[in-house]
């Protein structure tokens, strides 16, 4: 990975963590104003856009040569998840109506965000591959889809565990849940498709086209709670989430963001190595072997 771009991504992540998390910790526990004069909306925007920009830079700049950087991102992700889970389980108060079960939100919501982000990275990789034909983007596509599928599966499990005590059922064919299940199986289908195609060029082309078609479901998942009458609650914003809930939610969000990127970067190296083997020219035959072949 280009060294300067990696450190630019880390700087953006640091800014996102500062304005998204540290300012809130300072406000709630240290009684110190660390906001540098920025209002809540601006801080949230910096955290959101800084995190997303870092993800895009890490994806673009990764040339599959270095293992220590994805490992470091993964370790940082685990640390954030441990901090977020500690606050979510032991520090944050129970919610007024959902009581203790609301603590599930601190892992469920970040998982949902980054399942959709991983699918979006897969979509971007598919578009770039179709325009450029560079198989590095095919490796990134496969990695993003697989990580997105794992997060979408986890999302459905967490959702079912939340649904039982709050709705009384493990599953309901509600618009949000149904479109999420469709998303999971559509991207799972693309992974299956890749297993059945031996030619790497065709495999990359077909899965890029299939990814673009499957991605149509992502905005439908996001807007399903607004478009249809859904049991699932609508998206939250800093205005609709109480301040004591911010730290566990945001710490876990940074944790899953970092883990997602670590997983995608490590997983894309597996595909890149396999593609290198598949795309390598066949070894030259010596004269004796050539005679036998003829």
């Amino acid at each position: 990975m280009k060294r300067n771009l990696f450190w630019l991504a880390i700087a953006l992540l640091a800014a996102a963590v500062y304005f998204g998390l540290l300012v809130t910790i300072g406000d709630q526990y240290l009684h110190a104003d660390l906001s540098l004069g920025l209002p809540v909306v601006a801080r949230t925007l910096v955290a959101f856009l800084g995190g997303l920009a870092a993800v895009v830079i890490l994806l673009i700049a990764d040339d599959f040569s270095n293992l220590s950087r994805p490992k470091a991102l993964g370790i940082a992700g685990v640390v954030f998840l441990l901090i977020g889970s500690y606050f979510g389980l032991f520090v944050a108060p129970p919610e007024q109506f959902m009581g203790e079960t609301q603590r599930i939100m601190y892992v469920h919501v970040p998982t949902a965000w980054f399942a959709l982000v991983a699918m979006t990275l897969a979509f971007a990789a598919a578009v770039v591959f179709l325009f450029g034909g560079n198989h590095e983007w095919d490796a990134r596509l496969e990695a993003s889809i697989e990580v997105g599928v794992v997060l979408a599966f986890l999302l459905c499990c967490q959702g079912a565990i939340w649904a039982k005590p709050t709705w009384g059922v493990w599953w309901d064919w509600d618009p949000r849940l149904t479109t999420t299940a469709v998303l999971l199986f559509a991207f799972l289908g693309i992974l299956a498709l890749r297993k059945f195609v031996d030619d790497p060029h065709r495999r990359a082309m077909w899965s890029a086209v299939a990814t673009i078609i499957a991605y149509v479901d992502v905005p439908i998942v996001y807007f399903s709670v607004k478009w249809w009458n859904s049991l699932h609650q609508q998206q939250s914003s800093p205005n609709t989430v109480s301040k004591p809930f911010w730290i566990p939610l945001r710490a876990n969000a940074f944790g899953i963001l970092l883990l997602m990127m670590a997983f995608i970067m490590l997983r894309s190296r597996i595909t890149a190595l396999r593609l290198k083997h598949e795309l390598a020219p066949p070894p030259a035959l010596d004269e004796a072997e050539l005679g036998e072949a003829v």
Binding site: S85, G88, G99, V107, V150, C157, P165, R267, L273
Partner: protein
């Protein structure tokens, strides 16, 4: 019935456990597959 969910710690513990387990298992499978792929590539060289 007052519209407030009572109890529920078992569901909370289940959700966090499933999250940790799925992420851990997936992380381990990635590292294992990457090691296998690296050693296969090294043998071919």
């Amino acid at each position: 019935m007052n519209g407030v969910v009572t109890g529920g710690w078992n569901f909370v513990v289940a959700a966090y456990s499933v999250t940790g387990l799925v992420l851990l298992i997936y992380g381990v499978t990635i590292i294992t597959r990457l090691r296998d792929e690296i050693s296969r590539a090294a043998k071919e060289r």
